[in-house]
């Protein structure tokens, strides 16, 4: 059977990579004595799949992973057993059964983010800047891919982008992005906006939280 779990990664665990996260989940399943299915081959590993990787330093409150299990197990029990043994900072918030053919990668369509950044320049009207930014014909940004740097048009991916609040020299933003093969992350949008606005952000002091992945 295949279970889909919605989880949080928070606190200091924002500093672990996607690969570290996968290992942490695998080992937690072993500690929880969950009988998961193994791949065939020289180095058997669990049949685990995750949504798009989160950048190092970002938290999430709604990412997903799928796992194929040997035995039938109540999703609630899976959730509780896992939560008892997951390290602080990782928590499963929801778990349900899905069809074996249901692929997480086919389901993830959007990501919702909140972002807090230190402002370097308080004088500018950020609302106006973001409006003009979004009204450009195209928003080009450079993205590292496996085959080197590539220019992409961010505009095709930005579904929603707005200011939630500005106070204490910090700006709080909301961003919803389309997710597909090779799609950009929030950091690409922020850098492009920062360039457009003439460097208003302290990009070293930036907190990104993926509020949730949106499945179709």
């Amino acid at each position: 059977m295949k279970l889909r779990s919605k989880f949080e990664k928070d606190g200091d665990l924002k500093f672990i990579s996607h690969l570290d996260l996968m290992r942490a989940i695998e080992r937690a399943m072993r500690r929880a004595q969950i009988k998961f299915s193994l791949s065939k081959g020289f180095n058997p590993h669990p049949l685990l799949s995750f949504g798009p990787a989160l950048m190092m330093g970002a938290t999430t409150h709604g990412d997903y992973f799928d796992v194929v299990l040997e035995d039938e197990i109540d999703p609630e029990k899976f959730k509780d057993d896992m939560n008892r043994t997951l390290p602080n900072g990782l928590k499963i918030i929801d778990c349900y059964r899905v069809d074996d053919k249901d692929l997480l990668s086919d389901r993830v369509v959007e990501g919702e983010y909140t972002i807090i950044i230190d402002l370097l320049d308080y004088g500018k009207d950020m609302g106006d800047i973001i409006e003009r930014f979004l009204n450009k014909d195209e928003i080009l940004a450079e993205k590292d891919t496996k085959s080197g740097k590539k220019m992409i048009d961010l505009k095709k991916y930005i579904e929603e982008f707005k200011i939630l609040s500005v106070h204490d020299g910090k700006i709080n933003l909301y961003l919803r992005l389309k997710i597909s093969e090779g799609s950009p992350g929030p950091i690409h949008v922020l850098k492009a906006l920062d360039d457009f606005a003439g460097h208003v952000f302290d990009l070293e002091k930036i907190l990104i939280d993926r509020k949730k992945l949106i499945l179709n």
Binding site: D12, L13, F15, R27, K35, E204
Partner: protein, 616 residues
């Protein structure tokens, strides 16, 4: 402390592998710091991934934390990017568990695993705002050190307050009790050290003085007080089967060097290879019973969730019940995809059969260590393996489907000639021929030949031997590079300058220790890492304290000479080492002492010290 946590959050975004510094791993221990009497920082003078692979840390961390009155936390050397940001932001070195600055601990215990980590010890003290010289420190923290390199405590004698010689788990509880009592009484450090020096296995360097002859050899190591022992006897765990082995281990978030369960099957080694310090200082051989090991394995698997369990020792295939132990583990856990790993493999067909068994769950590499290229030289070092062993085991391995082999050798062994060096290449070619014989061609074959450089170590039969000079080593390495050409072969070698420095420090006296401090002051750290190794700074440091490093590494020593480490009694007697050295020069073998006692002297160390042979 909150201050450190706040500052950390900001700088961790900017460093490589920030998870090195966050703690919070499964099975790491969180205690209320106000509820304990002693706070102990276990310090590993290298980066997290290296330190977290270390068995001693795993044992002592949980052993100490099982005491209600003690809280043991961990600290590692921050990588240079982190160090720079810490210094810039005025963040002192802190423990991973509670982010407490190190200077607030009662005891900081360094483990000495290799000499080229010593500058990191100084750097870690400095990052903690603790003076590096013990004479400049008053009160706590007490700086202690143990581990294999503590057997020659001389180079760190100006830095460390006390050394723990031998098996740490045997001694640490007594030391913690003493520190607790002294803290309660408000006893000054001097009194604490005086009382500690009465514990067997504790060496307090400030109570001794090295006196030199005009030829720079040591005339005497003089106790400065009447009530300290003339020789400090190591401590050994007598019954390993009944001795503490943790049933849980910290599970790091990031990949470490040995990222698996480490289960210690036995301690010590009976083979008697003459270059091997571990084989001498960890005597006698003490095994854990299969029953105990299976029970521990089960608990460790449950508590860690690891997918692999490594059976650790100096020569795991020598374990009395190795075959059935491996078979039982594989049978029990294979359905869950949990594999078994052997860290070191002896060269015989038997070992390959074991690997075949292991292979059923997880594919492993094949690493064999003939150590020397010719039978003559293997007899000199008492490595009791033959060309026939190598042919048989690689044949079995190739038949079973292995395509790559790693072969480990040492260059610069005593009495080595260019013919012996060529022998290394000959063996590699022989292995290629075996592959061709099995598979019809050499398609897919990869043979990796690695040579380290021989470093004469204290308490080995080769402690009197000179090291090959760097030019000779380079010549030998270049010769091998020439001989090991072609697609099949890959040749790795060690930086000769590092091996030279390792020899100087491992045989060094207290004057080398002064140079160590100078070298660190001039910017040396992470000396074992190519990108940071500053050989010229070291040479200047030696010059500035007026010593010639070549004296330590290259001089053939006299049997009558007093060594800096002669203040330590490692159990193995000097006359045994002399005997073994003489036999080496004659190319005569000594049997494995599982067969019968070779008279090394370890049984006379203490009452109740039993080694494998007497047990039978």
């Amino acid at each position: 402390m909150l201050d450190i946590k706040d500052k950390l959050d900001k700088i961790l975004m900017k460093v490589s592998k920030p998870a090195r510094y966050i703690g919070g791993e499964i099975n790491s221990v969180i205690k209320d710091v106000n509820s304990v009497d002693i706070r102990f920082a276990f310090a590993f003078p290298d980066v997290y991934e290296v330190g977290m692979s270390h068995l001693g840390l795993k044992i002592l961390y949980h052993l100490m934390n099982d005491r209600d009155d003690t809280y043991c936390e961990r600290v590692f050397a921050p990588w240079v990017d982190m160090e720079n940001l810490m210094r810039e932001n005025d963040i002192p070195l802190f423990s991973l568990e509670t982010k407490t600055p190190l200077n607030m601990f009662d005891i900081i215990g360094f483990t000495l695993q290799y000499e080229l980590s010593y500058t990191n010890i100084l750097n870690m003290l400095d990052l903690s705002k603790i003076p590096v010289r013990s004479k400049d420190r008053h009160g706590y923290p007490l700086i202690i050190a143990g581990g294999p390199c503590a057997y020659n405590p001389a180079p760190l004698s100006d830095v460390v307050d006390l050394f723990v010689i031998g098996d740490g788990e045997e001694i640490i509880n007594e030391l913690l009790d003493l520190v607790k009592a002294c803290k309660k009484d408000g006893a000054p450090k001097e009194v604490l050290l005086r009382r500690a020096s009465k514990i067997q296995g504790v060496y307090v360097p400030s109570f001794y003085r090295e006196v030199y002859n005009c030829d720079n050899t040591i005339r005497t190591i003089e106790p400065l007080n009447e009530d300290v022992p003339a020789k400090v006897k190591k401590r050994v765990v007598k019954d390993l089967d009944k001795t503490y082995h943790p049933d849980r281990q910290i599970v790091p978030f990031i990949n470490t060097v040995h990222d698996r369960i480490i289960l210690e099957v036995f301690r010590g080694c009976t083979r008697g290879c003459r270059f091997c310090q571990a084989g001498m200082i960890y005597r006698p051989v003490r095994e854990r019973s299969k029953k105990t090991l299976l029970k521990l394995a089960d608990k460790l698997i449950k508590s860690t969730g690891y997918e692999e369990i490594s059976l650790t020792s100096l020569s795991t295939c020598d374990y009395s019940e190795i075959e059935s132990l491996i078979y039982d583990l594989i049978e029990k856990y294979k359905d869950r995809g949990i594999g078994v790993a052997l860290p070191s493999t002896r060269i015989d067909a038997f070992s390959v059969n074991l690997l075949n068994e292991i292979q059923k769950v997880r594919k492993t590499g094949l690493t064999l260590a003939p150590e020397a290229g010719t039978q003559r030289l293997r007899d000199v070092i008492n490595k009791g393996v033959t060309e026939r062993d190598l042919i048989n085991s690689t044949r079995e391995a190739f038949k079973a489907g292995w395509r790559s082999v790693k072969l480990y050798f040492m260059l610069g062994l005593p009495k080595e000639t260019m013919e012996d060096v060529k022998g290394i290449s000959d063996l590699a070619h022989l292995v290629a021929d075996v592959y061709k014989d099995v598979n019809g061609n050499t398609k897919g074959l990869k043979i990796t030949v690695s040579t380290s450089t021989f470093v004469p170590k204290p308490f080995t039969p080769f402690q009197w031997c000179p090291q090959d000079d760097m030019d000779t080593i380079i010549k030998k390495q270049n010769y091998l590079k020439e001989l090991l050409k072609g697609k099949i072969f890959h040749y790795n070698w060690h930086e000769p300058k590092m091996s030279f420095l390792e020899a100087v420090i491992s045989k060094g006296d207290r004057r080398v220790g002064q140079a160590l401090i100078k070298a660190w002051e001039s910017g040396c750290k992470f000396d074992g890492w190519d990108e940071f190794f500053k050989f010229d700074n070291w040479l200047k440091a030696f010059e500035s304290v007026g010593i010639d490093p070549r004296f330590y590494a290259y001089k053939e020593r006299d049997f009558k000479e007093i060594f800096p480490w002669d203040v330590i009694d490692a159990g193995v007697k000097k006359d045994y080492l002399v005997r073994e050295y003489k036999k080496a020069l004659e190319g005569r073998l000594t049997n494995d002492c599982r067969l019968y006692c070779t008279g090394c002297g370890i049984k006379d160390l203490d009452e109740g010290v039993v080694c494998f042979e007497t047990e039978k």
